[in-house]
Subunit: 199 residues, 2 copies
Amino acid sequence: MNENTTSVNNLIDHLGRLPGVGRKSAERLAYHILRVSQGEALALADAIRNVRENVRYCKECFNFAESDLCSICSDSTRDDSILCVVEQPRDLMAIEQSGSYRGLYHVLLGRIAPLEGIGPDQLTIDALVERVRRGNFREIVMATNPNVEGDGSALYITNQLADFPVEVTRLARGITTGSVLEHANREILSDAIAGRQKL
Amino acid sequence: MNENTTSVNNLIDHLGRLPGVGRKSAERLAYHILRVSQGEALALADAIRNVRENVRYCKECFNFAESDLCSICSDSTRDDSILCVVEQPRDLMAIEQSGSYRGLYHVLLGRIAPLEGIGPDQLTIDALVERVRRGNFREIVMATNPNVEGDGSALYITNQLADFPVEVTRLARGITTGSVLEHANREILSDAIAGRQKL
């Protein structure tokens, strides 16, 4: 029943393992790769290979890096008195793209998720505590995801940091800019009211 | 503003050039590739490289092949008295997956699209005419897409084949199995009525 060549099927199989890529999408991507120039196709293959061969975790904050320290940790113009704790490098990236934060980061590489068997030991929490012990941070901003597991992780970490002379804060919660009030659910409105700010 | 490593950005750029993959999806895919095992990531890179190094067009029908002839043209159990003309290898694959056709194929590698500057010369129509001249085909089934360009291409080819003793047919059109009659548009219903079949 299968009239594709082995190479094409192999590529479709591998593309189909990517998140959000179903069988039909994988076929479409494979046909695209067969249609573009040889150079463009090989550049994609090389980009995948390079990223895996060159990229590691920053020794300090566990962001992606191409040397021991990531571009943020090795940037002396960043404010090293404030540390933002995120779950994943993509969260760090989102905050960087907002352009409103100039401090350092710590990437947990996950969140505490007992149901999936992920405990504090599998995250970079020990390294975070050690950084706080060693560093001269004034403030630690918890920027884990605003859900049960993210909040739980933030709470756990806050307890771990209780003995250090740092202020632990978390990202503000409330209604989102550009949204419609009547579509905000009860939790969002509760957060917004509890955190109301002076105009 | 960009805190990703060069390799990560390069990968995101290349993934973002794939059809249907926007910036956000490209980032998600890149982070996935960074998270999976080294082996899985490199297998994807190799699959892309292999497909471009090993896959060519079948000399006979222009389907994808890993040697001179594709798996269908080199399969002696196929019915070589009937030839199905499709636009792209993916169309061939869709027909194969239906399991209801055992003849040979001819892939046009496109359709006549004057607005995009694609004329008959850029397709494999000459090779098709030559195959029909040489072969002992009894029937040629036009399976181009049911739209203006696909129908136009089928008509053009039908004219090219007018002098040969073959029957030229096209795929049946009508209401689609599993669909709801009231949602079928006028063109679909016209096709279905014109092509009505004896029960």
